[in-house]
């Protein structure tokens, strides 16, 4: 029998109402309040302890409350942590999320809670733990508890968990591949979707196409002739032999290559490793990727104040946003150190 620990607030833990909202965490053996109802629905798991904490206490003294809970849990063995359901109660929802996140990180044990879609705890903690979609008030308890139990039973019995919509939890924002039965291939699904679309019937698109927040474009330079300029490219130009082993696709690395004493980039000394376009031009003339001769000319003519003595190079082909942002943050300190005002960004 696996062991489960439950978290409740002062009200559902039957200590009292708003007047007891300041009570510090307390540990009780066995299942109390809604935990008793849940116990009857669990298969292969036993609620060994219930932790109760006042909502205000958790909100005001969060670290102290978590420290106290850690003291209680450090000596206990458990396989699953449950909290709530919190319905639409904002402080309770945040408390459930806070505790679930803490327990999951500290004990590497799955933590599950339940709350209403409009509970602010959903957006605060959906990426940190499983939050099942629940009703708006305690009247929904008889629906939300069986849902929580069914999900808990899957975890207790090692069954694979399906995606957010199928299981009824709020997505953690992680997109994963799902295998379907062989007969549900894209030809069948595209045909069915097209027929519905043609008939004006509702259908569900599979790939979301929402546009993320655009990055605001920087203000123009007041005087390029005085500006300090650097050059960055995602076209994958590297010294022959690719010393930094920059990947041809889905790059995680960038190179920083010295321009000191160079007036141009010569064929044979540079190559492109980008796995998404015709290499013949770039290899024959690296300066169509990194136009050093043109930049030097502008520098000499005073149309460009100063050229940073390195250029930065990576591969944009299928490189994901997180790695792109990380590489940018690794490049920025070099630019700040040299007081760079603007970057010319060459794409593939």
């Amino acid at each position: 029998m696996k062991k489960v620990i439950m978290y409740l607030n002062q009200f559902f833990g039957q200590i009292g109402g708003e007047d007891q909202a300041d009570c510090a965490p307390q540990l009780h053996e066995g299942a109390l309040g809604p935990a008793q109802g849940l116990q009857g629905l669990l298969k292969g798991g036993e609620i060994t302890h219930t932790i109760i904490c006042g909502d205000n206490y958790m909100a005001v003294h969060t670290q102290r409350a978590l420290d106290a809970i850690a003291q209680m849990l450090d000596s206990l063995e458990f396989d699953l942590f449950l909290a709530g359901p919190a319905f639409l109660a904002g402080r309770y929802g945040s408390a459930c999320g806070e505790v679930c996140k803490f327990v999951q990180e500290r004990y590497k044990v799955s933590a599950v809670t339940s709350m209403n879609r409009d509970n602010p705890g959903v957006d605060m903690f959906r990426q940190d733990c499983y939050i099942l979609e629940g009703g708006s008030n305690a009247a929904a308890m008889r629906k939300d508890l069986p849902k929580m139990a069914a999900f808990a039973n899957k975890i207790l019995n090692g069954e694979p968990l399906k995606w957010a919509q199928a299981e009824g939890y709020f997505s953690r924002g992680i997109r994963r591949q799902v295998l379907l039965p062989e007969e549900e291939n894209v030809a069948e699904r595209a045909y069915e979707m097209l027929m519905k679309k043609l008939k004006g019937q509702p259908f569900v698109s599979e790939t979301p196409m929402d546009v993320p927040e655009p990055v605001p474009i920087a203000k123009p330079l007041e005087d390029a002739g005085k500006a300090r300029i650097a050059f960055i490219s995602t076209a994958g130009l590297v010294p022959m032999g690719n010393p930094d082993r920059i990947q041809t696709a889905a790059a995680t690395r960038f190179g920083r290559y010295s321009l000191e004493g160079r007036e141009s980039l010569k064929a044979g000394e540079w190559e492109t490793v980008h796995g998404g376009y015709d290499h013949s031009y770039g290899n024959a003339d690296p300066q169509i990727i990194m136009p050093l001769d043109a930049l030097r000319k502008l520098e000499r003519e005073g149309k460009l104040g100063y050229l940073h003595p390195y250029f930065y190079s990576t591969v944009g082909n299928l490189t994901n946003q997180l790695n792109a942002e990380r590489m940018a943050h690794e490049i920025i300190p070099y630019l700040q150190e040299d007081h760079i005002d603007a970057v010319i960004f060459g794409s593939a």
Binding site: L161, K162, W163, A164, Q165, A166, S171, R172, G173, I174, R175, R176, Q177, V178, L179, L180, P181, E182, E183, E184, N185, V186, A187, E188, R189, A190, Y191, M193, L194, M195, K197, L198, F203, S205, E206, T207, P208, M209, D210, V211, P212, R245, Q247, T248, A249, A250, T252, V273, G275, G276, Y277, D278, H279, S280, Y281, N317, L318, N320, Q321, L322
Partner: protein, 436 residues
């Protein structure tokens, strides 16, 4: 235009004295087959292998896959490519079903891929479920092989020639069944008119020998064109040496597209299948805009009500996908797109290069960058050491998070994009993506 495809179900492929087909067993004379696939002697060390579904076999680096077909009238299976130019789409085609012909080179590069005949990767591709007649070879000119970007010209042509050679053995036999393909007259039935839009590899502007081959012509920078579905079933279009393995549509996929066959099956019943528009992955924005305009104009002139758009690859082709679907929708033609997703190895990043909420009906072939762990296989066709040695997009020599793709015990950790045709868009993918 009526095409009859005579299907012979292949139960096994073996080597023997005489190339022949009896009771479902295809026997192949190795010397003759090798001579057929390598007519100009540009390949060396050519060897044949058979890989069957469920076997503990790993095949890499794969650069071409074709379906074996032949004509009784002496016409080349792939006109303009494996033989003289002629028309496609009419007459009798003899087809070996349940098998594929696969070409295996020496070096991985950014289009090469891998196939496991069993294990978790076998769930991801149609080609783990076909009996595969493979050939391994090297180019006589070594510079053709040792390069991440290569035309694979003689492998790709050799693959089509071998597919033609083995199928020729059945042309005087009676098939298990004849399937007839004809766009019958649906006048007066009031059915919605539907076109299939198929993205081809067309983006090597001035370098010949990399892109898709249409009636023997390299289609780089082609202006979109309109074809009869029978032309594709009958060998008009062959695959490129570009586009990563997972999202790659091989010649086999073009010859047997399940999207095309689905629209055919419903022709005269629930829809009026108009035909196929072959479109571009443009190398630049003008080319992309031009293709979107041409596709939408053709579809409008064809009085289409709906379209199914099959995307090839990703990244730059996301832009063609977005622009063309928007152009079709703006002319009142309702579109469903089929595409692979790239949500990042951790599943948390943007899925596409070009996003647009007007693309409101998109079917997913799954994730091309899901990290998968694969067991060691008893037999390798090709070269396993190409994984740590060569520059592939779907695997790596080493990685700070995942370690090397190839481990000492022969197990692998790779992206799904490494597995041939795992997220291609012409019909087979029985996968999608969901938020967890």
């Amino acid at each position: 235009m009526k095409l009859r495809v005579g299907e012979f179900q292949v139960k096994d492929v073996v080597f023997g004295e005489e190339t022949s087909f009896h009771d479902g067993i295809l026997t192949v004379n190795e010397q003759e087959a090798i001579a057929a696939l390598n007519p100009d002697g540009k390949l060396k060390d050519v060897k044949l292998h058979v890989a069957r579904p469920g076997e503990s076999v790993r095949i890499l680096p794969i650069n071409a896959i074709a379906a074996p077909r032949a004509r009784a009238d002496g016409r080349a299976t792939f006109p303009g490519y494996t033989g003289k130019m002629a028309s496609c789409g009419e007459g009798d085609l003899y087809a070996l079903e349940g098998m594929a012909v696969i070409s295996v080179g020496t070096h991985g590069g950014w289009m090469e891929g891998m196939l496991d005949m069993s294990g978790p990767a076998a769930d991801l591709t149609e080609f783990a479920h076909t009996i595969n007649l493979c050939f391994t070879a090297a180019n006589v000119d070594p510079s053709e092989d040792d390069n991440s970007q290569k035309t694979n010209w003689d492998y790709r042509l050799g693959c089509c020639l071998l597919a033609e050679y083995v199928a020729k053995t059945v042309i005087h036999q009676e098939p298990d069944l004849w399937r007839e393909y004809e766009l019958t007259d649906t006048t007066g039935m009031g059915l919605p008119r539907v076109v299939m839009v198929l993205e081809m590899s067309t983006f090597y502007e001035n370098s010949v020998g990399y892109d898709d081959v249409f009636y023997g012509v390299d289609v780089r920078c082609i202006v979109p064109t309109f074809v009869h579905p029978n032309e594709l079933l009958d060998g008009a279009l062959c695959s490129s040496s570009l586009v990563c393995a997972g999202v790659h549509s091989y010649t086999y996929n073009y010859q047997k597209s399940l999207v095309l066959k689905k629209l055919y099956e419903k022709h005269g019943k629930t829809l009026d299948f108009v035909g196929v528009i072959l479109t571009n992955i443009g190398p630049n924005i003008d080319n992309k805009v031009r293709a979107a305009i041409r596709v939408a104009t053709m579809a409008q002139m064809l009085k289409c009500d709906g379209a199914v758009y099959c995307q090839l690859g990703s990244g730059t082709s996301d832009v063609d996908f977005q622009k063309t679907i928007v152009a079709l929708e703006e002319r009142g033609i309702k579109c469903v797109g089929i595409n692979p997703e790239f949500p990042g190895r951790d599943g948390t990043t943007s899925l596409k290069t070009a996003l647009d909420p007007r693309l409101d009906a998109v079917v997913s072939t799954g994730s091309a960058c899901e990290v998968i762990e694969l067991p060691a296989m008893e037999r390798v066709i090709g070269d396993l050491q190409s994984i740590p040695r060569d520059k592939w997009p779907g695997c790596w020599a080493d990685d700070p998070i995942y370690g090397p793709s190839l481990r000492a015990d022969g197990t692998l950790i790779v992206d799904t994009d490494h597995i041939v045709a795992s997220t291609e868009s012409t019909g087979w993918a029985h996968k999608t993506c969901q938020y967890f």
